[in-house]
Symmetry: C2
Subunit: 337 residues, 2 copies
């Protein structure tokens, strides 16, 4: 599925591709139909917002392999009329970019005015500049990295381990067994959620406060932060799919466009023609600012028109989701450049 | 159980208490009896080492509630001849310090020349200075914090969640059911292990290297870092006890000596007479250097003789376990001061 916001202009020069992150979807802005909440980038996409839909035609597709509107592990395989489940093919960031290029072609547009996204969405933006240099004029790579670190992989593996050892997982065949590894998925998400927040922000928000007994989601909860994670983990585990979780974390772990260029990112970037804007957030410890600086250095070595912006970002990795004056001003200037 | 190293001198002025961390034990140095490996602080304790057993009598007790030699959840409750299991009482850092004070008294020693430890061991050292100011002359608080942060609690909660949802956990009654929540404990340890290492160190050691198929511990493993975590998690889950894991993480989460002093650490420290040495490691993200600096500032505000030392520490939180010239020189100088 694809959402769009704004209007395509007559010379088709104002199309922006927005790439979603791990648990996002095509629903990037506003409230559509019966949506309970606004899209994941509603703070940034809309009339007079950083990504101004008065000026731009914003295209927001759903990533292949997902569980919120694209063909993925919960879909029926047409070959055998069974649910894909664990047999859904491995997927990569490049696969998404290739499918997005097919969408571009289908729309009859020659190039994106900009491709942008945060986190796993930023990885897609970077891949776009490398794979289709003629078809992207600008790319904003936000709160992302040119490859997953050893620690990123390790944290994802703990989440996968938790899912795989849920007795309801059945080696990935849970749907065929009419069940679901809810507990394992919940634990995986609780961990991932911690990596999206900053330590400072958690201290300010929850600190060491004891949870009111009346509003505990579980009797084993002592601290507010435990209650919050229990609540968030539970909610996520009721909406997301476990095989998809494994598939998507594998895609993130596998991202490494420099791999085919002797592990030299500047080599991978040597044919890039897009202007790059790389944004890192100080409080992000999942893809810390150092990852952004590494990309900027490689871009400079490749002679690309690139700039690096470091923002404070109070919300850790999730900072890319929230607007503020400096973030907005820089994105606007970049899109209008 | 208690191990000792070195000899108590005639005026009983050279006794040092070493407090172990989360999964440590009384076995701090050397190899005793059939020990497969050396004690956890073998790099620092011994003749001519930082904690020189030619000069000091080192006392290393096992923390109450543990599963490596003290009464804990795997012990038999004398009241009903059943294993304690989940019914073992909650335990706190203060409980350990109180039991260590009984040991001091039993040894007929009036005061420790020094109390020291890393991580949860450093918390005990800090608590000693507050609770028994007359009975400790020096305290070294290493890679620790004056309280667990919201993020610390959150990460521990993910580990506990993983254990509690293992179908073999039986609400903590697994021993009565002749089983053991090995998978849940393994996942908890995999996560904890990541928090003990630094991101840089993981990148240097494992990077994004693919695991040899021949030496994979599990067929689902792709990367070396996954293999390493699988191996470490497995090994730990065969040696540790799940109820003890929950008990010990709760003790760490609950540590907050300032709580009874209007949340003012300098108030908690106002009667401290011991000299303090606080050590933080740059690459430690579990108890980062900021936590050490906070203690140092509170100590200065209380007028305590205290110094703060920041070391590079290549191994993240685990850096406290490994000696190097600067670490050794500073500890030696402090112990001889």
């Amino acid at each position: 599925m694809v959402d769009t916001y704004g209007e395509l202009n007559s010379d088709k020069s104002n199309a922006i591709l927005v790439c979603h992150a791990f648990s996002g979807s095509h629903h990037a802005a506003g409230k559509l139909d019966n949506d309970a909440k606004s899209g994941w980038w509603d703070e940034l996409i809309g009339p007079d917002k950083a990504i101004d839909t008065n000026k731009f035609f914003v295209v927001s597709p759903n990533n292949l392999g997902g569980c919120f509107g694209s063909t993925g592990p919960i879909s029926i395989c047409p070959e055998n009329n069974e649910v894909y489940g664990k047999n859904f093919p491995n997927i990569t960031v490049l696969d998404w970019v290739n499918s997005q290029e097919m969408l571009l072609s289908k729309l009859g547009i020659s190039s994106w005015a900009c491709v942008l996204g945060g986190s796993l969405g930023g990885m897609q933006a970077l891949q776009w500049t490398i794979t289709f240099p003629g078809k992207v004029k600008r790319a904003a790579v936000i709160a992302a990295a040119a490859k997953a670190s050893s620690q990123n992989i390790a944290l994802n593996e703990v989440g996968r381990e938790s899912i795989r050892h849920d007795t309801n997982f059945y080696g990935g065949d849970y749907l065929k067994n009419d069940t679901f590894p809810k507990d394992g998925l919940k634990t995986a998400r609780m961990l991932a959620h911690i990596t999206y927040l900053s330590e400072d922000n958690m201290n300010k928000r929850f600190g060491r406060k004891i949870q009111d007994i009346e509003s505990r989601v579980d009797e084993l909860v002592d601290y507010e932060v435990e209650n919050y994670l229990q609540y968030k983990g539970n909610k996520f585990s009721e909406a997301f799919d476990a095989n998809t979780y494994i598939l998507m974390t594998r895609a993130m772990d596998g991202f490494d466009p420099a791999k085919d260029f002797n592990n030299e990112l500047q080599e991978a970037l040597k044919n890039v023609t897009a202007k790059l804007l790389i944004i890192g957030f100080k409080s992000d410890w999942l893809f810390p600012p150092e990852r952004g600086k590494e990309m900027q250095i490689a871009a400079m070595q490749s002679g690309i028109n690139s700039s690096y912006l470091e923002l404070d970002g109070q919300q850790g990795h999730d900072s890319f989701l929230f607007t503020n004056e400096r973030y907005k001003k820089n994105l606007e200037a970049f899109l209008g450049s």
